[in-house]
Subunit: 361 residues, 2 copies
């Protein structure tokens, strides 16, 4: 990549922060992308009128994300990271408790093969899901979302699809980097196969949870296990390297992730812990998707992981798998669920329920 | 919208071209989106390593699009527009002739109800398509693509899916603005219904052709006609107003369209010719999609019409229709076909053939 950064503002004038104007340089190395960069000028982005009124309102009131502010959010040490995560998870655990109560979902802690899990039982289970299970893999960039904070994604699916769910509280860095998370998911899944038919199990989650779901299915295939009947990959972090197009095109526009650089890149480093980030068990988009189960994917027009999601969708299709992609207008990373109660979240959850009904039978 | 434009560059420094720094202003009018704009700083966009090597090469060699250059491309008069279009269509007609020859597709001109059409017969028709027809609606922002220049999209589908196709050379502005194009498509379709079962007809095209396909189906519904069995909407211009999120987020990044302002906005004005641009027969995304046929949609992560395509997909789904969305990595508007021979175009055409096989039977 070019080392000097210059900005050409809509061709009106040229400003170069480094003092040297760089023209695009073409230098194609074998197997490397061409070393050409565009310096794309600033743009004026209004609230998206095609999004729901609720999304529009939160965008108008929430303020513009700051890349600089996000870059400064990297914890200075493992200790600082642990404290930050503990504080955040405590707050989100309390929210999850309230959510479970409001949705009449009973949450029970359990341990399977040494891995902490949470069973989530809705007050009503649909007739077609009497023997089914949705295995929820939480997000949080592989560094946050432990304990009860891992359950909200499962609670809402349990409630809306009327299906029993389980959240796997997989181990995370800094203490337990890759492959601990994959190992935990697969260890629990193997035990679940003793109780459930693989045709009655779906696995899924958002962000890192979507990526880990896909990576775990790669691992299941490698171990010769029967794979789940469906995957719900919500804006999956399918590539931990800074490769996807939308990491560049939508930087500063996705108000949830804001930028790859900063906490996200730090989390990727902490998780991979020196392993090749293009290992399909870390970045599942690089894996072989043949014989993958039907996979439901969702992203948004402002999602930094738009490309991760779209690339995964294409990789699945190319391998002959059933893959269904939805892109919500004006939605940043994860907001198809995180702005809960929006029309978009309701549409999304209804589609997930339909998808599970279709493929768990 | 805010009248003054200011740029905040990654929070590093503030520049205001108009001399006045505007903070986001919240002023929500009834039924209007909140009057808030983000000024998003410049970004450095490399060649997308997740796209095919062929797409990467064309991006590296093609140079960065210039918004200013595109803005200057508006013809100064109707006469100038006619001359420009005639020149472009002549060149593209010659290319289409060569394409038809190379693909062994026989092209025959005909007139149906006063509308010029082109029949396209491949050298081999698949057994399942013996009585089927793909009706190709060309793109070109409702202002270019007349005559033989209207045929390439039909030629490649005829060749790869092994299906007979027809291109409707609908009338266009400045001489024939809306509703001439819709009227022509529907007039031809009504005649086709005398020869073909509606269950054996698919309709589709790219850009304006995708939008016009969708608008024509709205019109067919309004007339009580039986609708086609499938729609192939390639990055449809489904909203001629400047509403879609990606018109803002991807401005200057889509190297095909570059910006909504300029020739595209001028074409929208010329086509609508004073009619309400939110009329579903002009901007089909605003229509009622109930009872719509299965629709295949494609776009790219750099496509200015990413949002038009995604919003159409959601509108179809909300109405209960079958809708299938694909987003190609690093692809600008229309490049899923226009960079012909790329792996992306091959994947796309194979999917279109599959989609037609599934729904024309």
């Amino acid at each position: 990549m070019c080392k000097k950064k210059c900005q050409v503002f809509s061709s009106l004038k040229t400003v170069c922060l480094s003092g040297v104007l760089m023209m695009p340089v073409i230098g194609v190395a074998a197997d490397s992308p061409p070393d050409v960069e565009w310096q794309v000028g600033p743009r004026t982005v209004p609230v998206p009128a095609g999004a729901s009124a609720m999304i529009q309102k939160t965008l108008a009131e929430g303020g513009q994300p700051s890349i600089q502010a996000r870059l400064s959010e990297i914890p200075s040490s493992d200790e600082a990271a642990r404290a930050l995560v503990a504080k955040r998870d405590k707050k989100n655990s309390e929210k999850a408790q309230a959510l479970a109560k409001r949705m009449n979902v009973k949450v029970e802690e359990d341990t399977i093969k040494g891995v902490k899990v949470f069973w989530m039982t809705p007050d009503e289970i649909a007739p077609e899901f009497q023997n089914s299970l949705f295995v929820q893999i939480h997000g949080g960039a592989y560094v946050v979302g432990a304990g009860m904070a891992s359950t909200p994604g499962g609670i809402v699916v349990a409630n809306t699809a009327k299906i029993k769910a389980m959240s796997i509280d997989y181990r995370m860095p800094p203490d337990h980097p890759f492959p601990a998370a994959v190992d935990d998911v697969v260890a629990v899944y193997k035990q679940l196969l003793k109780k459930y038919s693989h045709k009655k199990i779906a696995i899924g989650g958002g962000s890192a949870g979507g990526g880990l779901s896909l990576a775990s299915v790669h691992k299941m295939k490698a171990l010769g296990l029967k794979t789940p009947a469906a995957i719900i990959a919500g804006t999956p972090w399918a590539d931990l390297t800074k490769t996807s197009d939308s990491l560049y095109t939508l930087e500063g526009i996705d108000r949830a992730l804001v930028t790859y650089d900063g906490p996200l890149a730090a989390a990727a480093q902490a998780y991979a812990n020196g392993h090749d980030m293009k290992d399909p068990l870390i970045s599942p988009v690089y894996g072989d998707f043949s014989d993958f189960p039907p996979t439901h994917l969702v992203t948004g027009t402002r999602d930094l992981f738009l490309s991760d999601t779209a690339r995964t969708h294409r990789a699945l299709r190319k391998a002959g798998a059933i893959a269904d992609l939805t892109v919500f207008e004006g939605i940043s990373h994860g907001e198809h669920l995180s702005i809960f109660g929006s029309p978009e979240s309701q549409e999304y959850l209804a589609e997930v329920a339909e998808f599970l009904k279709r493929y768990l039978n």
